[in-house]
């Protein structure tokens, strides 16, 4: 990290017109583990990678339910994330008390952004060191927002924040056109695959990743441990499909698959696997047993 004469105070500008403290705060977000969010026309999905301090400790929670229609994934300073989570929950519940309806997502995100901006313009405060992915549904449809310590916020079709999020973003950029019409299962699978790209070592297990979904008739539900296992298993079965492009998944052998192994018209894979093979494999899995129905935690 470089040292600067203009980075001691959040209220000091640099000659280039930058606020270094705010930028350093955004670095803190990049130190957090990866969180991915994506939305379709009916659902929003968050997928996050959890870290644990040591083999003995539990994994740090990254996804928080704010209200039945809204939830967040955090990347960065967990303490700041919890504080913002408490503020958001309070706002939602107060809104519900007065208006007996769910708080519009964009308005709450703007309030968070305004709160974050205040911390960049007071000499006795410091910026929040956490970025949020806010997933929610309101009268205008499904939303995915990303906030950052600078007080900026944007709405996204799909986004990833945290460590090595660029790899996840690359995956999302490649596939985002398929998201609007995707089913919930497909969306979750895309999210997990995006998350996988940001793994430096090891692989996704039910202990180190958590998924959350919210949709039109689906309250915000957190899937962890056993609940997320079927999706991870499905992901693993996809991989041999992608790699070899011919062998039928073993799990689907239990039920009678409509697609016969070898009948899948697929070219021998180059990098990344052909989309046609993937879609055919997914169809096979769905018509077979497919992942378990969603259970709330």
């Amino acid at each position: 990290m470089f040292r600067n004469q203009y980075d001691t105070d959040v209220t000091t500008w640099s000659p280039q017109g930058r606020l270094f403290q705010v930028e350093y705060a955004m670095e803190a977000v990049k130190q957090g583990s990866c969180a991915v969010g994506l939305k379709s026309d009916t659902h929003v999905v968050l997928a996050t990678l959890k870290r644990s301090q040591s083999e003995l400790s539990s994994f740090q929670r990254k996804v928080f339910k704010i209200d039945d229609h809204m939830g967040i994934a955090i990347a960065g300073l967990t303490g700041d994330g919890r504080s913002l989570c408490k503020y958001m929950r309070n706002e939602c519940i107060n809104h519900r008390y007065v208006y007996e309806s769910s708080m519009p997502v964009g308005r709450l995100v703007r309030q968070i952004a305004d709160k974050s901006q205040v911390c960049t313009q007071r000499s006795w405060k410091r910026p929040y060191g956490v970025g949020l992915l806010v997933a929610g549904l309101d009268s205008q449809g499904p939303h995915l927002f990303s906030t950052c310590p600078s007080g900026n916020y944007y709405e996204y079709k799909a986004m990833a924040i945290g460590a090595r999020s660029q790899a996840a973003k690359t995956y999302l950029e490649k596939h985002f056109e398929a998201f609007p019409g995707a089913s919930l299962d497909e969306l979750v699978r895309h999210g997990l695959r995006a998350l996988q790209s940001s793994l430096s070592e090891g692989e996704l297990t039910d202990a180190n990743c958590s998924v959350a979904v919210v949709g039109k008739d689906l309250a915000f539900t957190l899937l962890e441990d056993a609940a997320v296992q079927p999706y991870i298993a499905a992901l693993k079965e996809d991989e041999p499909m992608q790699a070899e492009g011919a062998a039928a998944p073993e799990a689907a052998a239990a039920a009678a698959p409509v697609v016969v192994p070898g009948a899948i018209e697929v070219e021998p894979t180059a990098a990344g696997g052909p989309d046609g093979g993937e879609a055919a494999a997914e169809r096979a899995l769905r018509e077979g047993e497919g992942p378990a129905p969603m259970e709330a935690d």
Partner: protein, 290 residues
């Protein structure tokens, strides 16, 4: 000169410091009522203390002054209709004959009120602030009638808890998605001055509770056509005018529909007949009457 203690108590008046009686002890407040206790023995009027006035100097609403009478609202096929007259009565005097008791909140919702007109103006102000906030936020989201209704319930109930009610019977009506985002459904609800509230297919306040409600129960259906609904509203307004002494033959009807938004009609009069035989000679056929 020693500074003389002054009292700001209403019981004593300005610039006067009373004796120890100025302090409201139980000896003063709880003593049995004595005739002529307010008249001092030696005529020192400024030093007389009225214990009753030693309480909270704030005033609370005790009774309304300029009032509106009934409000009626019904659902029909395309949306909702709200009707009321345009009178602001000052006790028995029909003083303000041009008050608008129905107010547009946004493109999907109206609120109408009976009771104290000044309190209703205050409530309109509050709703205006909410609507302006929505406009300023500029995200395409408007308050739905159900949200306006829930908000007003909280306002009325909180004021009642302070023993300072807004002396109104409010009717909230409009079309909007349900809170779960269902497609355009009509909404009609009433909030009273003590926070009592309910929603239904038809709602009335004041005298219309007794006069118009039977008509609504018999004839109102959620799928009525607009002509049927208007005819029902006219009949109900007529009955209210015939039988309510503090009403005038000048009405306004507001219509809220999914496509058309809000439209509040110009004031109009209805045909009334006062030559019914029983009105003219009420006791003609009554046995033993004179």
């Amino acid at each position: 000169m020693l500074p003389r203690p002054t009292s700001h108590s209403k019981a004593l008046g300005p610039g006067v410091a009373g004796p120890e009686l100025a302090v409201a002890t139980s000896a003063v407040l709880d003593r049995p009522p004595q005739p002529g206790a307010h008249l001092p023995l030696s005529g020192a009027a400024p030093c007389a203390v009225d214990p009753a006035a030693l309480g909270d100097p704030r005033q609370h609403t005790k009774y309304p002054y300029v009032t509106g009478t009934s409000v009626l609202a019904i659902k029909y096929k395309d949306g909702v209709l709200v009707g009321c007259d345009t009178l602001g009565a000052y006790g028995s005097t029909k003083r303000y004959k041009n008050t608008q008791r129905i107010v547009r909140v946004n493109s999907k919702c109206v609120v109408a009120a009976g009771g104290e007109i000044s309190d209703f103006q205050y409530i309109s102000n509050l709703l205006d602030e909410l609507t302006t906030d929505d406009y300023r936020t500029d995200d395409g989201i408007e308050l739905t009638p159900a949200e306006v209704y829930a908000y007003l319930c909280r306002v009325m109930y909180n004021r009642r808890n302070k023993f300072d009610p807004l002396w109104n019977s409010l009717v909230v009506a409009g079309v909007g998605p349900g809170s779960n985002g269902e497609g355009g459904s009509a909404f009609v609800g009433m909030v009273g001055m003590i926070g009592t509230h309910y929603t239904d297919s038809h709602v009335t306040t004041g005298f219309a509770n007794q006069l118009a409600r039977p008509l609504f129960r018999e004839r109102q259906r959620d799928d009525m056509s607009e002509e049927e609904a208007l005819q029902l509203m006219y009949d109900a307004l007529k009955v209210c005018y015939y039988r309510d002494k503090c009403s005038i033959n000048k009405f306004q009807i507001a219509k809220v529909t999914g496509e058309g938004g809000v439209s509040i009609s110009e004031p109009f009069a209805l045909d009334m007949r006062w030559d019914y035989k029983m009105f003219a000679q009420p006791t003609k056929w009554a046995v033993g009457a004179w």
